[in-house]
Amino acid sequence: MPQVNGRFVPDMKSPRTPDNEEPAEERAHDFRPVDKGFTKEMALAEAERCMDCKKPLCVEGCPVNIKIPKFIEKIREQDFGAALDIIHEDSMLPAICGRVCPQENQCEGRCIRGKKSEPVAIGQLERFLGDQPELASKPQMKPANGKKVAVIGSGPSGITCAGELARNGFDVTVFEAFFTGGGVLVYGIPEFRLPKAVVKREIDGLKELGVKFEFNSVMGNLANADELLNEKGFDAIYVATGAGLPKFLNIPGENLPNVYFANEYLTRVNLMKANKFPEYDTPTKHAKQVVVFGGGNVAMDAVRTAKRLGAERAIIAYRFTTPRPRASRSCRLSRRSSSSPARTATCAP
């Protein structure tokens, strides 16, 4: 670690460490993770690029204000356990957030290094640590305070809340409508971007903290707020039921068979494993030509899934001519044309 007068000097010359990806032509045919994550060497090299700013804008850019320069400093010192402990002070889900947070709009979007070259790969470093949960110290638990909280939904919001409450001494029960935990992390985000095993590990971690999970529980129908508070003894309810309802385009023919809203298409494949039909009972269509409307992360997940289900031609149609569709970098959209009002673009698989 280079130092001048005992102070760390960042590596200002090295470019950002590239993602550790499987070659596109290989990965496009199955659901293996696209990004293998940083090796130790890659993480150490990238950690050298952080300038350890006096006023770290990355921390401001992070919705939960993870002390980013501090954990990167611990990476440089090769004290990965301490680095992970620093993240855990603010977030219990680094393996998930490191993979699927839109870092280019948040921490990395504010990184000073991004002004002249490329921002520090904060997400990759976070994931590198999150994937080694065994290095973390046991989380500090406040003594039980006798208060019961019902969390409705086990998606990112629900499990974050459940983890925080459990660490602060609350008795937490998470109610989930599906048969497994994770919400959009398991039904929406494909295996190749966020492996189900990573989500399961985080849920298991919460169980170890004493969080209880009730699956197949559609709250409101199975029990309403009155019953939870007055009959089942909960002191509070946290509603984390997600973004929910699909928004259709209101165009003729959109209810024809073979027209999917992304939630259905992705749920069939991600949660119900339709890619393994007939070993799994849920089918889906394996179309040769697929068009996806939209330019966000979900559109990218859908078009990349179509590719993996055997589409010869899978395209994105997007209504705006903004310089960049809204999808985050981890979805990797490269543009082809920018002139027509509704344009199509290609997306690396």
Partner: protein, 280 residues
């Protein structure tokens, strides 16, 4: 895991399961449904509640063997468990006060029965039209007879093997002509619901249909069960399953129900081959 407490066989292909589910039993209403995932590799399939008992903590549903999942379920016995059962889902059936005609066709009778029972309980006069292809497929006749006087039960079979030969619209038309009913509820195959609707419309009598599209999540998230009601997209799982039948786009419903025919056939064939007696 949800334990099967009782299994009843009505005919060669029609079964009823009683499932242990105390919380669900407390909150179930007529017209609502549950979703089943039989095992780890299973699909999610909706079944309307046939009956439930909050004191004893069970719910019941009736199913007919048509595809792989129902074929597999028919091999389950009391004491076996279904991996996942979710519910109650959907909106309960609500009918205006007065005399109601409840029409059930085929396995739809399993849904019509609890609706008729609830209506009787809430002070409605109820006529039931029970339709089936043939006598052996006529469900729940005893239960209907226990609930309603004989002159309020109208039975039709396509082949004339029992009751009146023909389809449900004939007795419906007679009831409407006699101004004997204020409102109609129907559930069954699409053609049956469609023609019941046309008949009711002719007499200006309101008619509700309980729709049965394919579902995946059943909680309003995915949009698989969408139906066109008065030109607008609605979700059968959260907005329904009951809708004003005169507003339903029946062709759209039929096309969406048939969207996976090929795959359903494939799955059933693979299952039958793997479980055929000659391979055991």
């Amino acid at each position: 895991m949800y334990k099967i407490l009782e299994k009843t066989q009505f005919s060669e292909k029609v079964f009823k399961f009683r499932i242990e589910a105390p919380e669900m039993a407390k909150h179930a209403h007529a017209g609502q449904f549950l979703m089943v995932r039989a095992n780890e590799t299973g699909e999610r399939v909706p079944f309307t509640f046939a009956d439930w008992n909050p004191e004893e903590g069970w719910v019941e549903f009736i199913f007919m063997v048509v595809g792989k999942t129902t074929k597999m379920l028919s091999t389950y016995e009391p004491g076996d468990a279904i991996l996942d059962v979710t519910g109650p889902l959907g909106q309960p059936t609500v009918m205006a006060p007065g005399t109601t005609c409840v029409i059930g066709g085929g396995v739809g009778l399993a849904i019509a029965y609890p609706v008729a029972r609830t209506l009787v309980k809430t002070g409605h006069e109820v006529h039931a039209i029970m339709g089936a292809r043939t006598k052996d497929l006529l469900l729940l006749e005893d239960q209907f007879r226990e609930l309603l006087p004989d002159d309020h039960i109208h039975i039709t079979t396509d082949d004339g093997s029992y009751g009146e030969k023909g389809v449900v619209t004939a007795p419906l038309e007679r009831l409407l002509q006699a101004k004997a009913v204020d409102e109609v509820f129907c559930v069954g195959p699409v053609p049956m619901m469609k023609f019941s609707t046309l008949t009711a419309e002719k007499y200006g009598t309101p008619i509700t249909a309980s729709l049965n599209p394919i579902m995946v999540d059943g909680t309003g998230m995915c949009g698989c069960c969408r139906v066109e009601i008065d030109g607008k997209t609605k979700f059968a799982c959260v907005d329904g399953p009951d809708f004003d039948a005169t507003k339903v786009d029946w062709n759209d419903l039929r096309a969406r129900q048939a969207a996976y025919r090929t795959e359903e056939g494939q799955a059933l064939k693979a299952y039958e081959e793997a479980n055929c007696a000659c391979h055991r």
